[in-house]
């Protein structure tokens, strides 16, 4: 791994102004709150958290679809804002969750996959067709699908088309936003295997957003846990799954239902519902749902404490830890 991370977020914040009611004054909603992350070349960073925690907003910022309110996004050490968007699109490509809505139903598979080449004026039509044939072969689709339409394909095939479209410009970074959650179990494993192969073959870097922790554990080498716009724990995949620190990470991992009959359904102790992000709880945002909450958790926001392979934001650790 080189020293410069291929993708870096420095104190990125995205604030939306949300109006509740016709005459109400807009209130700020911090969808992404002071997030700093680094992804090295060839790494897979898993980003996990419940719906509404800001995972997808973060993905949009990385794709240049949203501008951060504060902070910087750096690709290869250069700030994104300084580069133009088409240059960015060559280097960062998305794969979305739902292959049924992310492919234009009125375009043929050839049109869909070759669009990035045409947008960037890469090669003539003969070389574009050659590129499409190659990429179809790589993602495991027969060349004859070029003239078919998305409606004629299964969910797994569509997701392969979405992967082909993302990879045809040979990007360095792929943002996978829940790429397998709309797929059947047997298809999911095919797509996960394909993503793993492609990473090894082309040295791709993934930001892998998912709420399925079993999948994240399988594919990622680093994991960031997000809660209400903040990264509450970041660690290597071994660090998180074997020695998780944050009580929220613990609750998430306990919710994973492994196929072990007779174990019953775990009690996550996450009693209260997900808080309203417009009006987040004071102190540590997680304290109303935390089984280990202490008096200071509702008073002050926890500091970020470095750990041996990452960091954690919790009053249980570091200098702020209770001396017992």
């Amino acid at each position: 791994m080189s020293d410069t991370p291929v993708l870096e977020l420095r104190n990125v914040t995205k604030t939306y102004q949300v109006k509740q009611g016709m005459f109400a004054t807009p209130k700020p909603l911090k969808a992404v709150n002071d997030v700093s992350l680094k992804i090295g070349r060839g790494e897979v960073l898993g980003l996990v958290g419940e719906s509404g925690c800001g995972k997808s907003t973060l993905a949009k910022i990385l794709l240049g679809l949203e501008q951060p309110t504060e902070g910087q996004v750096l690709v290869d050490g250069k700030e994104i804002g300084a580069q133009n968007r088409s240059e960015l699109a060559r280097r960062i490509q998305p794969i979305f969750q739902d292959p049924y809505s992310s492919l234009n139903p009125r375009k043929s598979i050839y049109d869909i996959i070759s669009l990035p080449l045409r947008v960037h004026n890469v090669g003539d039509s003969a070389s574009q067709e050659k590129a499409v044939r190659e990429i179809l072969d790589i993602v495991g689709l027969p060349a004859r699908v070029m003239n078919t339409y998305p409606s004629q394909m299964s969910g797994g095939q569509r997701q392969r088309v979405a992967i082909a479209r993302a990879l045809i410009m040979k990007p360095e970074i792929v943002i996978c936003d829940e790429p397998t959650s709309a797929l059947d179990v047997s298809v999911q494993s095919q797509i996960l295997n394909l993503l793993g192969e492609l990473r090894r073959e082309f040295g791709l870097t993934y930001l892998f957003i998912s709420h399925n922790l079993a999948v994240v554990e399988h594919l990622a080498n680093r994991v960031a846990v997000m809660y209400l716009g903040r990264i509450v724990e970041e660690a290597s995949v071994e660090g998180l799954f074997d020695r998780r620190r944050h009580p929220y990470s613990d609750a998430l991992l306990q919710s994973v239902l492994t196929p072990d009959p007779g174990m019953g359904v775990p009690d996550t102790h996450l009693g209260a519902a997900y808080p309203n992000p417009i009006d987040p709880p004071k102190g540590c945002h997680f304290h109303p749902r935390c089984a280990k909450a202490m008096p200071q958790c509702s008073q002050a926001a926890p500091l970020t404490v470095p750990t041996e392979d990452g960091r954690v934001e919790c009053h249980l650790y570091g200098a702020q830890a209770p001396t017992a």
Binding site: V185, V237, S255, T258
Partner: protein, 335 residues
């Protein structure tokens, strides 16, 4: 628990007319469900699991044909029950929880009205009694400030809360059978665990029988007493959860279990098992084993009718030409 099952289904068959002929969506499935028991029907999309549940509730579309040698709910022949008769059963003695809490609640009515409806329809109660019962159930499914929720509309609630309302609604008349079709698929993992716990606890408390339809093997393992694995309209394997997961007999069941990464068991980054190929078309004549085109153990005999193999005195059964679900020398045989 009595010996007579509350639900008994033999040779249930569902055909759907399509442009090019008939789609044989469900072909001759059998199962029994005892009081207080949980049956999980697991299968991939298009396997016919949701159609099966709709057939039990009498909610199939008019053009869809449903046949069965037997389909009895507590001695009532559901095949012969009229629409009016079904309406009396639904909500009162058997009720259903749907997958999408976003779309299965009526956005134009308050939570309170929708909860009270089933009770007012089936039982002689006043509006006040119905609302009191609604509050009681909302509290039971873990909704805080239950009374104030009654006047709220579905859009004012989060997904997890809406699914809790759906569960409360299904329980209003204390049904004996509850059918939950992918009740947690649209929810976060944390909420999924809470909702499943709630369902299991309520089921034990009220002694209901439950059919849970899902594609998630983790959910099945944690909740089921009995498991039925469905593939392309057939039950390929049924049995107690411990046996189906501990000693899966059908090649499809084994394949499915190899496909999912299991924290602590599957090596990180290792290649996952896959099931090559795609589900066969069920339009027109369907014969032999539907899984043979994707099966490593397929032989010529798989095109013939497939015998039902029974183990443990009929408790664990599967459909395969091989007595133990394995060919002597597994290999890819083109179908």
């Amino acid at each position: 628990m009595t010996d007579t099952p509350i639900l008994s289904v033999r040779n249930l068959t569902i055909d759907i007319p399509v442009g090019g002929g008939t789609l044989h969506a469900v072909r001759g499935i059998d199962f029994d469900l005892n009081r207080g028991e949980t049956l999980c029907i697991v299968g991939e999309s298009g396997s016919g699991k949701s159609l099966t549940s709709l057939a039990l509730m009498g909610l199939l579309g008019k053009k869809i044909s449903r046949r069965a040698d037997r389909m009895e709910f507590d001695g009532i022949d559901l095949m012969k029950t009229s629409q009016r008769g079904m309406r009396k059963l639904r909500g009162l003695r058997m009720s259903m929880i749907f997958q999408e809490p976003m779309t299965s609640l009526n956005p134009a009515y308050t939570i309170g009205d929708q909860l009270a409806e089933a009770l007012l329809l089936h039982k002689k109660v006043s509006r006040e009694q119905a609302r009191a019962r609604a509050v009681e159930l909302l509290e039971k499914v873990g909704i805080t400030a239950a009374k104030s929720r009654l006047s709220q509309y579905p859009h004012q609630l989060s997904g997890g809360l809406r699914q809790r309302v759906m569960i409360a609604m299904a329980l209003m008349c204390e049904p004996e059978l509850i059918i939950a079709d992918e009740p947690t698929t649209a929810l976060d993992v944390t909420i999924q665990a809470q909702i499943l716990r709630l369902l299991v606890d309520l089921q034990k408390e009220l002694g209901m029988a439950m059919i849970l339809i899902t594609h998630d093997l983790g959910v099945v393992a944690r909740v089921a007493d009995k498991v039925a694995v469905m593939y392309a309209g057939e039950l390929v394997e049924t049995g107690p959860a411990a046996d189906v997961f501990g000693a899966p007999a059908h090649p499809y069941t084994r394949g499915l279990l190899r496909c999912i990464p299991v924290p602590g068991k599957t090596e990180r980054g290792a290649e996952l098992g896959t099931i090559p190929g795609i589900v066969p078309s069920l339009v027109g004549e369907v014969s032999g084993c539907p899984f043979r085109t994707r099966c490593d153990h397929a032989v010529d005999a798989c095109r013939q009718p497939i015998p039902l193999r029974e183990q443990q005195a009929g408790r664990h059964s599967f459909r395969c030409v091989h007595p133990d679900g394995r060919a002597a020398s597994p290999q890819e045989v083109p179908a």
